[in-house]
């Protein structure tokens, strides 16, 4: 199985739409009634032709000359019909919007949740912006179709049926005439739309390139400035802007062409109706009113042709949006929560066992092979090794961010895959390298570890970690805002917040990926102090980038090229003259102690 988000491009537009709506039944709330109302509203479109015909034949050209009173009666009846159909249209629209917006919101939320349920591997295989698009703009492309285009398609089809029926009732010859003119158009609609949607796909692609180019001038501002490559960057942007503009123009030309055909057809149809109609009239088979009604009905054919490509286009857009959203929903999380059927672990000291564990990224070589290791409760373990040695993979398996390809990871004797997420995440907490903070106050970020914690408890946590002095020095203490991604704090301070968050979560097994980024000495000391408080009395596994962490550990696990090659206490390992001794020597040199 690949880690990527699945693609469902093979499904047809209708197929995609049907499946999408099935997955989001909110879209169909009250759909039958809405459809009924929409059909009533459609009838409104033929009121004018009928009224004109009735008024002309019975009133204006009646057998007894002009009778205005008949016309007035016809008009009154028609007015009533207009009011009824207008009300029906209003009700249709409101219901449509309500159903569409409800469905869209449900879909957004569902996709959002699913993104979080995907494994780390899948999440990181996709660009962040692309994931966001899947729950926002991709959902929005569906909204156009759901709000009006879908119903417009139904209404247009209804309009064609009603108009044709009426036409045939007046004169089957004229109905045939009109259809002979319009049929070729309806038949070419699909082909035309395919070209139009191909052109718009090109526009979207160019827009992606455009955004990429623009982002270089924003995200890479420092680099651009430092290397004085403004000219080159602007050139790249200008090219992207121009390519986007040209493609958009090309698409617009296609749309303009297809739209104009509808108007042209109306001209042809009018001419044909007059010729055929007059001949029929001369032969006594048609009244003037009927001929006029037919002329009033012709525009009803134009609109479906003109909106036809647009509706089909929206259909394609919506299908494209659906495909991308369904791509998320259809991606099975490769690390799945066993849910209520799973085991809940009781709280208390935790022990871990890796039994013959191997792992390789999808389509890649083994990065971890045959790891057998037991970690005793409350022991403090450091994991060391060079980049690519498998140490990070080891902790990802330990926290079940990934599942082993073979073998088992057992916590308190239970296979991790059988442990309920709710229970697992409560007992096993990982502090990643970069302690991500949300754009909120420090208190809210730390409370993320335990949502029901009071301010007093937060303060206590900081005090217990020896960080009270740090909090006191912040401008608004606990309630200092941390800024976007926590950027108002330094990297080291973000780590402190992440440690406090983990402390508050109070796990039994703590997994730390030590940050490598440089931190000023005062913060460095604080971090060390906080780590000490955090790991005390718990089982802890730390990916160590610092020598001191390994020195202080109860046990050091040394990884090299995907294998656990050494284990033991620091002093013993140094004496052994193996991989660890070599790493240690290099560290010491770097520390200036060689």
């Amino acid at each position: 199985m690949s880690a990527a988000i699945s693609t469902t491009a093979d499904r047809s537009a209708w197929g995609t739409l049907r499946r999408g709506v099935r997955l989001t039944p909110e879209f169909l709330i009250g759909a039958r009634v809405t459809l009924g109302l929409a059909l009533v509203a459609t009838v409104g479109r033929v009121i004018t032709p009928i009224a004109v015909q009735q008024a002309t034949d019975r009133g204006l050209q009646g057998s007894g000359g002009v009778d205005a009173n008949v016309v007035a009666v016809v008009a009154l009846v028609a007015l009533g019909a207009v009011l009824v159909t207008a009300l029906a249209a209003y009700a249709t629209n409101v219901r449509l919007f309500r159903a569409a917006e409800t469905g869209l919101s449900a879909l957004r939320v569902r996709a959002f949740r699913h993104v979080h349920d995907l494994s780390v591997l899948t999440q990181s295989a996709e660009r962040r912006g692309s994931l966001v698009a899947r729950v926002t703009t991709d959902v929005d492309t569906i909204s156009q179709f759901m709000q009006w285009a879908g119903m417009l398609a139904v209404v247009s089809a209804g309009q064609l049926v009603v108009a044709t029926a009426l036409l045939a009732w007046y004169s089957w010859q004229l109905a045939l005439t009109v259809w002979v003119v319009f049929l070729p158009l309806f038949l070419t609609l699909r082909t035309l739309q395919r070209r139009v949607s191909g052109a718009y796909a090109g526009v979207r692609e160019r827009l992606g390139e455009l955004l990429g180019a623009v982002s270089e001038s924003v995200v890479g501002a420092t680099t651009v400035r430092a290397y004085a490559v403004e000219g080159r960057t602007q050139q790249r942007i200008d090219i992207a802007i121009d390519r986007h503009r040209r493609q958009a123009t090309r698409a617009q030309a296609l749309v303009a062409g297809s739209f104009s055909v509808g108007g042209l057809a109306a001209g042809i149809a009018n001419a044909a109706v007059v010729v055929v109609g007059v001949r029929l009239g001369v032969a006594g088979q048609l009244s003037i009113g009927q001929l006029l009604a037919v002329l009033f009905l012709v525009p009803l054919f134009v609109q479906p042709v003109q909106v036809g490509t647009e509706v089909l286009n929206e259909l394609q857009n919506a299908a494209a949006g659906w495909r991308r959203v369904l791509g998320v929903l259809d991606t099975e999380p490769d690390v799945a929560d066993p849910g209520p059927a799973g085991t809940a672990l009781p709280r208390g000291p935790i022990d871990v066992r890796f039994a013959g564990v191997s792992y390789g990224y999808p389509g890649g070589p083994r990065v971890l092979a045959d790891v057998d290791v037991t970690i005793a409760p409350r022991s403090r373990v450091a994991v060391v090794g060079e980049t690519g040695s498998g140490k990070t993979t080891f902790v990802k398996l330990l926290t079940r961010l990934m599942d082993p390809a073979t073998g088992q990871v057992l916590v308190d004797g239970v296979d991790l895959r059988e442990v309920r997420f709710a229970s697992l995440r409560e007992r096993v907490v990982m502090v990643p390298q970069d302690g991500y903070l949300f754009d909120d106050t420090l208190a809210e970020n730390v409370r993320y570890g335990r949502p029901d914690a009071t301010d007093a408890q937060l303060r206590l946590a900081f005090t217990e970690l020896g960080l009270a002095d740090w909090i006191d020095r912040l401008p608004a203490g606990l309630h200092s805002p941390v800024g976007q991604r926590g950027e108002s704090l330094s990297a080291g301070e973000r780590q402190l917040a992440a440690l406090a968050r983990a402390y508050l979560a109070d796990p039994d097994l703590l997994v730390l990926d030590e940050a490598t980024s440089a931190v000023d000495p005062a913060t460095e000391v604080r971090i060390a102090r906080a780590l000490e408080g955090l790991t005390r009395g718990r089982t802890s596994v730390t990916v160590a980038h610092r020598l001191s962490t390994a020195e202080a550990a109860d046990e050091v696990l040394v990884f090299d090229r995907g294998r656990l090659v050494e284990r033991g206490r620091h002093a013993d390992l140094v004496a052994r003259d193996g991989v660890y001794a070599r790493l240690h020597a290099s560290w010491s040199r770097q520390r200036g102690q060689a």
């Binding site: 349920d117 780390v120 990429g212 623009v214 004085a228 617009q252 010729v275 961010l401 697992l424």
Partner: protein
């Protein structure tokens, strides 16, 4: 570089043409934005509008023709029971010809409007991005990335969105005028009915805009919030996952998403009422024309043709009248887009350049005298920094976080200019050097690495014509040769946003190679190897020393390995140079310095002590 920003006369004129929000309402300002668009693209606007007017006139002509044909061909034919082929053919030819003219008009209108819209989009995107490249970094730091990206994309698009229906709306106005004349010509009384109905249509439009525009603004705002919430949550996905907060995050997201839904439903209510009203009004008009027309015909005051013609006009005008509504409806969004775009275009403060050329090809001499800098007024981060780095020397800047090191670095490479004092390269003030001269002599490797969406080669050379051998040499020196050689296409492998992803350490090494390949006379490393494995870092820094670059080096460092390579160490604290000397001298005499560089040792000692404390406690 071509002009941008308020200095560019065209941009300045554009900025002047739209009144500020306190001086005019949304409608006036929106129309001013449209006026600006018309002034900037007059030719294509004329083509589109003429196309639209032709279409409009042809539409009216169609009604007139239907009326005339009814009166002159249909009614006599039906009454007399015969018709000549010539008359019929003429009638057909007129209708057909009108159809062709209408089709041509539509093409001119639609294509013209599109071309106009896309040209304006492209022009303002160019202007906005020119500003991005021109404005100082302090401006960049004050504006979130997402905001700047949407300025160049969504905001420009929103600004010119009403341009698409604009020619049709203008054409419709023409059509209404022609229709009014046609109706008056057909029958005065019937025309009066029209004069009631069309203003009513317009009133409905205005009502609609008034109701919709605040909702549309709210919708736009909420869309951004939904997107922001998703973005932040996904960025913190690992934290969410490792703390098991998926459900809580979903609840939070549902909150904003449902707000967006509620506004959408309210939009639906307004639009839901608007559409049927727009459809019903012309129908009511037609019915009124029929009734009044019937009494007129009965009284012998008019003929059937006039009645037919006027009622047909109502039918065909009902739809295009909406285009006026489309334009008005998009105006509020357009104004919001304009405001956000104008905020970028108005920003001033680009760097000014002199004409001096850099002096020598030898290692540079760097000097700062009395340099001060503040990000916010009254809160200086550097004061009176005097620093001299002799050619070929390596100086380490050491100091706690927030001491001003990175700010000093950004002054040395002229990312920003000092508020007071001067930075000199070989005796020349950086501000007097010609554009590109600083970058030609000085290379910075910043704390965070930025890679372009380009190949490895492109990321190292940044477009400079350099032979591969030199690129490889720089990669070797940056210890990046190994992993680059292992990439699927070597130097031609695409990296960055849409390419192969690299680790933080690999990215830093590429950034280093990017600096080295230019053979800078002054190399500034701002903690540039922080994500590199310690053993690799030692190798890199050792390699730089062994290579004996013809460069002066300034390095911001924490790790002792990096510091120990420097000829001299400058200690920065609280925005001042507090001490300087060799590593050994400083260790011996400066407590602050000892504090910093012995952090690792103290940390280790502290841990050992804590471990000893704890060993007595039960586990």
């Amino acid at each position: 570089m071509t002009g941008a920003g308020p200095d560019d006369p065209e941009v300045a004129a554009a900025l002047r043409s739209v009144p500020p929000s306190h001086a005019a309402g949304v409608l006036r300002r929106g129309l001013a934005v449209l006026g600006l668009g018309i002034r900037e693209e007059p030719g294509i606007f004329a083509v589109a509008t003429v196309g639209s007017a032709v279409f409009g006139a042809a539409t009216v002509a169609e009604a007139w023709a239907v009326g005339q044909i009814t009166q002159r061909v249909v009614v006599p034919a039906f009454q007399t029971g015969h018709v000549t082929t010539g008359t019929l053919a003429a009638a057909a030819a007129v209708l057909l010809g009108i159809g062709v003219v209408k089709a041509l008009g539509v093409v001119a209108r639609r294509l013209g409007a599109g071309v106009m819209q896309y040209r304006l989009n492209a022009r303002y995107r160019r202007r906005v991005t020119r500003q991005y490249l021109r404005l100082p970094l302090s401006w960049h730091h004050a504006h979130p990335t997402g905001r700047l990206l949407s300025n160049a994309n969504a905001d420009v698009e929103a600004m010119w969105f009403p341009v698409a229906p604009l020619p049709m709306a203008v054409g419709t106005l023409v059509m209404l005028l022609v229709a009014a004349v046609a109706m008056l010509a057909a029958d005065v009384v019937l025309a009066i009915v029209g004069f009631v109905v069309f203003p009513a249509l317009f009133a409905v439009n205005v009502w609609y805009q008034r109701r919709l525009s605040p909702l549309a603004t709210a919708q736009q705002q909420l869309r951004a919030e939904v997107s922001g919430a998703a973005h932040e949550s996904f960025e913190g996905a690992l934290v969410v996952k490792t703390l098991g907060r998926e459900a809580a995050e979903t609840t939070r997201f549902r909150g904003v998403s449902d707000q967006l839904r509620d506004v959408g439903v309210r939009v639906g209510r307004v639009r839901g009422l608007f559409d049927p009203m727009l459809e019903a009004l012309p129908t009511v008009g037609v019915l009124a024309v029929l009734v009044i027309g019937a009494y007129q015909v009965q009284a012998g005051l008019t003929d059937v043709g006039a009645v037919v013609q006027v009622s047909y006009l109502f039918t065909i005008l009902a739809f295009p009248v909406r285009s006026i509504g489309w334009v008005l409806g998009e105006l509020p969004r357009s104004v919001v887009g304009w405001e956000r775009v104008a905020a970028v275009l108005e920003a001033t403060g680009g760097l000014a350049y002199g004409a001096a050329a850099p002096a020598s090809t030898m290692p540079a001499r760097l000097e700062t005298s009395g340099v001060g800098y503040a990000y916010a007024a009254g809160r200086p981060v550097l004061h009176g920094v005097d620093l001299v780095v002799e050619p070929g020397r390596t100086v380490a800047l050491v100091g706690p976080t927030g001491s001003g090191k990175s700010t000093l670095v950004s002054l040395l490479v002229r990312l920003v200019d000092p508020a007071e004092g001067a930075v000199r390269l070989d005796g020349t003030d950086l501000r007097e050097l010609s554009p590109g001269a600083v970058a030609g002599s000085v290379a910075l490797v910043a704390q965070s690495t930025f890679l372009f969406d380009d190949t490895v080669r492109g990321n190292v050379t940044l477009g400079a014509a350099l032979p591969d051998a030199e690129v490889w040499a720089a990669l070797r020196l940056a210890r990046a040769e190994g992993f680059v050689a292992a990439l699927p296409h070597g130097l031609d492998t695409r990296i960055g946003e849409r390419g192969t992803s690299l680790s933080g350490g690999q990215r830093q090494r590429l950034a280093l190679a990017r600096a080295l390949v230019r053979r800078p006379r002054l190399l500034v490393l701002d903690d540039a190897t922080s994500a590199v494995d310690p053993s690799v870092e030692t190798a890199i820094l050792g390699g730089l020393q062994e290579a004996e670059l013809p460069a002066t080096v300034v390095v911001v460092a924490y790790r002792r390995s990096a510091i120990s390579l420097a000829d001299e160490v400058v200690v920065v604290d609280g925005g001042r140079v507090v001490d300087r000397g060799s590593h050994e001298e400083l260790l011996a005499r400066s407590a602050a310095y000892r504090d910093i560089v012995t952090a690792y040792e103290r940390e280790a000692a502290e841990r050992a002590a804590l471990a000893a404390d704890e060993s007595g406690e039960p586990r």
